[in-house]
Structures are given as C-alpha cells and as structure tokens.
Amino acid sequence: MDDLLKTLRISSSGMKAQGTRLRVISENIANASSLPKGPGELPYRRKIVTFRNQLDRATGIDTVRVDRVTRDRSDFGRRYDPSHPAADANGYVLTPNVNSLIEMMDMREAQRSYEANLNVLKTSKGMLQETIGLLR
C-alpha cells in the first residue's frame, strides 16, 4: 500500500517534468519569428530542457525533475529582407534558431511520455482501489 502511494508520487513528478518541457517548447514555438529590433542585435535563442533523476533520500525513491533550462548554441538563420529595421549592411536579418518541425516532434514526445505517466497513475489508482476493496 505504501509502495503504491509512492508510485503516485513518482508518476506525478514525471508528469510535472513533462509539463515544464511542454511549456518551454511552447515558448520556442511562440517566439519562432521573434526577430531582433535593430542591426547588430540577436534574435530569440531556442531553449532546451534537460531532465535529471533525483533520489528522494527520505523515501528511497527515484523521482524525476527538470535539471535546468539551457540555451541552444546552434547558429541563427539568415533571411534576405533589406527593408527590415534589423537588416545588416548586406540586407540580411538574423532569424531565431527555432525549427518548428523539431519543436513539434519534441512536443509529441513530451505528450507521449506524459500520457504514459498518466496511465501508470491510473493503473496504480486502480490497484489501490482493489486493495481497499478487500475491506468490503
């Protein structure tokens, strides 16, 4: 019974981590066309989430949490648009290093992991209910 209650906590930590990941993905997608304001400035830089496995010493269980949100160091894109206020001398504007295809794939993966955690939560709840049902 105690183990099953711990299960609920582990699954919810997984769901929380995937939720944070989804939030960062939505930030990236929303800023996919955040261009710089003036020449020489940089556009939006993509954010990446990494997960970390954390041992809860009090109960001895492995939960998961978001380690840190880092910035993607890859190169920015360039677009020819001489009329833009942020265009350089050659007429190019730097565009964010967000690839919406990659973000969508990441989003599907986060969704899949979230669903898996949710299903485990449901299954554990069912098992707990069966155990409690023995009292009937």
Partner: protein, 136 residues
C-alpha cells in the same frame, strides 16, 4: 486468529507486496523515460521458493534525533531483489534505455496480476466465511 498463519493469506500478502514494489519501480522507469543515462530497473521474479520460505526482516532504519537528520530506508532490508536491465532492447543516444512500450506492458501485467491476487484473497475469505457458517 492470525490470518497470515493461513498459508494462502501469507502467500497472497507476499505476492501483493511484490506487485506493489514492482509497480513502484516501473513507474520510476516511466517517469525517467527522458532522463539521460537512465537504466530501467525491475524486480527478480517472485518464485515459489520466496512464497514458502520468506522471512520478514525487521526494518533497520536510522534513528532521527534531530529534524535535520535524514531517516532514509535501508534498501538491503527490502525482501525483494532489484535488478538493473543490463541488456536493454534499445538505448537512445543519450544513454537512456527505457522503452516506453515495454514498460507499459509490464505495468499492465502487474495490474492484472494484482487483480487476480485480490480476487483470490476475496475467494479465500469467502471460503472461511462458509466454514464458519456465515454464508457468502
């Protein structure tokens, strides 16, 4: 009347402990499905030998005399052996070896076995009720 002295009740209790512990480990695996370098864990299968000659070990926890101490839980005292999957089916480039489908299948298997065990418990209780003449 100690129900655990009835062999079937004792066996069922052991089995349910094992199932709850396994569910906990599987939920850990699923929560860490995106943690770099994480290897999935599982329990050693519950054998008939465990069922017949399983002795309850006393929990030897650390004494907490200050609220800044960590109580902790001695893993070795847990009656079930934990194994790490050394030959995973598939390992992601970041070293994570959790296959979500495989883990979900295991979770379902655990839930079904739990169901079976609780039903067995109920049946056995019904038999005792009949024996003491209380009807079904």
């Amino acid at each position: 009347m100690d129900f655990n002295k009835f062999t079937l009740f004792g066996a069922i209790k052991g089995r349910m402990d094992w199932l709850a512990r396994r569910q906990e480990l599987l939920s850990q695996n699923i929560a860490n499905a995106d943690t770099p370098g994480y290897k999935p864990h599982d329990l050693k299968p519950f054998s008939f030998k465990d069922m017949v000659q399983r002795q309850q070990l006393p929990p030897l926890n650390m004494e907490v005399t200050n609220n800044q101490h960590l109580g902790g839980e001695r893993k070795a005292v847990s009656p079930f052996r934990e194994v790490v999957d050394t030959k995973p089916y598939e390992t992601a480039p970041d070293g994570n070896a959790v296959v979500l489908e495989e883990q979900m299948a295991k979770v379902n298997e655990t839930a079904i076995q739990h169901r079976l065990t609780t039903e067995l418990y109920r049946k056995n209780l019904g038999l005792i009720r009949i024996a003491i003449g209380k009807g079904r």
